[in-house]
């Protein structure tokens, strides 16, 4: 049938209507993406996130491109800084001399305070945590709109960075890592609308949550107590929740015209070319999620308890091999044949109940997961805890100290899960 004979020959679809239908279909697709992304982010298990992998792959591809585009900007910045240094050398020199004079006194006080602090630590038997290693990365893109505040840096999981690691500039906390690919990482800044950071007021030790809103000065929320914060108070990370280590400098508290407490961030006062990522395991990274998800074991019956006790009892020392003269050695048994240890004595009052032996088997499997076959007597014993070597602090590394009034999980290198 020729086209001119077709019944669709006279069919003329209005252009605006077809575009409108296409727009509605595209809008439905976009809404589906938005909803699926929200569902995806709500999942606790980070490995199950499909969109996170897409984002990480995108960042990995984009980071080199942004790095190339950012290079001319960096050169211009460096050139402008050189010109500024040249013209403002005298005033900067005066300012620096004043700062040096102030810092000399601070250095003297620092020596005395460190000595006193060490003494207190010894007296109070305080645990000091190992230093946190840091890696430095270059910022290749800086998203700064009201709906998102994020940065892309040119180091990733190849440098040991994991999701949740805090990031700092020379002045203070910048944010934390929310996405990692082998060669790039995405930082969520403190000012992002989705950012929530537990902080404390240095002067009063009051706790609050620093909430980003897309503006340059995030606000303090859930501030308890009266008169706990004044203008100019220094704000630090509190370490609550295990997301950040305690005591990282964040900024200075200021009240806006509506009476809301906001923070002037230290990290805003400097350049944004480099950031240091603290390779710090937060609480969610240190806890064994699989172990937490295991169902609780049922209580042991008396018979099973006796079996476990018998298995945990060390075997008695083997008697010396005595081969009296005249006693024939059984044929086929070499003189050096090992002597089987005596079997554990049966329980004194064997219970007639036929309790299922699963708990014992599970206990044995947990304590010696690599063992195959029936558990040996020694396999039920507690495995030796391997103490991790405490690394010595290097110059320039951040060292954090837990104080006694800190109520949150503390790092304990003597425990296999690392928590005190």
């Amino acid at each position: 049938m020729a086209y001119r004979d077709s019944p669709f020959q006279e069919l003329k679809v209005p252009l605006t209507w077809t575009a409108g239908v296409a727009a509605v279909l595209a809008l439905a697709l976009a809404v589906f993406l938005f909803v699926s992304d929200r569902k995806d982010q709500a999942r606790v298990n980070a490995e199950a996130l499909g969109h996170a992998k897409v984002r990480a792959g995108f960042d990995g591809v984009l980071a080199p491109v942004s790095g190339v585009l950012a290079a001319p900007v960096r050169w211009v910045n460096d050139g402008a800084a050189s010109v500024g240094d040249y013209f403002f050398a005298v005033s900067q020199n005066r300012k620096l001399k004043k700062q040096v004079a102030e810092l000399q006194q601070v250095a003297v006080d620092d020596v005395a305070l460190k000595s006193l602090n060490r003494r207190y630590e010894e007296l109070l038997k305080l645990r000091t945590d190992p230093p946190i290693p840091m890696v430095t990365g270059r910022v290749v893109s800086d998203t700064r709109g009201p709906f998102s505040n994020a940065r892309l840096i040119d180091i990733g999981s190849d440098a040991g960075i994991k999701i949740g690691n805090p990031a700092m500039s020379e002045q203070g906390v910048v944010g934390r890592v929310v996405g990692v690919s082998p060669n790039a990482s995405r930082l969520l800044l403190l000012t992002d609308p989705e950012s929530r950071t537990p902080v404390l007021i240095d002067r009063s030790n009051a706790r609050a949550v620093l909430t980003g809103d897309g503006g340059p000065n995030p606000r303090l929320e859930y501030l308890r107590g009266r008169d706990v914060v004044h203008n100019g108070d220094r704000v630090l990370t509190s370490g609550d929740g295990g997301l950040y280590p305690r005591g990282l400098p964040v900024g200075v508290a200021e009240q806006d015209i509506r009476g809301v407490w906001r923070i002037r961030l230290y990290s805003d006062s400097g350049a944004i070319d480099f950031v240091r990522v603290l390779v710090f395991d937060d609480f969610s990274q240190m806890v064994d999620q699989a172990r937490l998800a295991e169902p609780a074991m049922p209580p042991l019956s008396a018979a099973d308890e006796a079996k476990v006790k018998a298995a945990e009892t060390p075997p008695p020392a083997a008697p010396p091999v005595v081969q009296p003269t005249g006693v024939p050695v059984p044929p086929g048994a070499p003189a050096s044949a090992p002597i089987a240890p005596p079997k554990a004595p049966p329980p004194q009052s064997p219970q007639p109940r036929s309790a299922p032996p699963q708990p014992v088997a599970r206990a044995a499997t947990r304590s010696a997961p690599a063992a195959s076959g029936p558990p040996a007597a020694g396999a039920l014993a507690k495995p030796p805890v391997k103490k991790p070597a405490k690394p010595k602090p290097k110059p320039g590394e951040y060292r954090r100290v837990h104080t006694p009034n800190e109520a949150l999980p503390q790092y304990d290198p003597n425990r296999p899960d690392g928590r005190g």
Binding site: A23, L29, V54, S66, P193, E194, D273
Partner: protein, 171 residues
């Protein structure tokens, strides 16, 4: 080679190339630069496409390319996926509805409708971020970005003048 109006205009010319230019500008504007410790404003370049494509010619491909550009923006800015596709399509819809009202009007009228479509897009973005982030974005920061995006209106005019009469079918 001069292009004659009788020559058909392929979609990649008026849809594909502007989209790529907008993506390149978005990446370039997000370079880590500050002037006297002040952050530069960050306009939403794809808003030019959302408004410009609707007034040049209604197209089936346009909304879907806007979804792709919006997805790029979401991945690049680390916003929730779907935030900018929805906002751009709302701006496109406003421009599509107001298209007939703008015919034969002065440039100022078109500027007014551009501001209205950008406002609708930002209102939807504000709502979606409030839903997703359980907090309200800073209105002053939004005002800054809104003003920076409004300043892109000359690019809308350039896009319209470049492609409005480029194809006889567009008339």
């Amino acid at each position: 080679m001069a292009r004659t109006p009788s020559r058909p205009l392929e979609p990649w010319r008026w849809l594909g190339v502007p989209a790529l230019i907008v993506i390149a500008l978005t990446v370039a504007i997000d370079a880590p630069i500050r002037l006297f410790t002040l952050a530069l404003p960050e306009p939403i370049f794809p808003m030019v496409l959302a408004f410009g494509w609707a007034i040049i010619r209604p197209s089936i491909l346009g909304p879907f390319i806007l979804v792709l550009v919006g997805l790029f923006l979401d991945l690049y800015c680390a916003t929730p996926l779907g935030l900018w596709p929805i906002s751009l399509l709302i701006a496109y819809g406003v421009a599509l509805i107001a298209r007939t009202l703008m015919v034969g009007q002065e440039t100022e009228v078109m500027g007014f409708y551009y501001a209205a479509s950008v406002l609708a897009a930002f209102a939807s973005a504000y709502t979606l971020v409030a839903i997703a982030g359980h907090g309200q974005p800073n209105l002053i920061a939004i005002l800054w970005q809104f003003a920076a995006t409004l300043a892109l209106f000359p690019f809308v005019l350039m896009l319209r003048n470049r492609f409005r009469d480029a194809d006889i079918r567009f008339r």
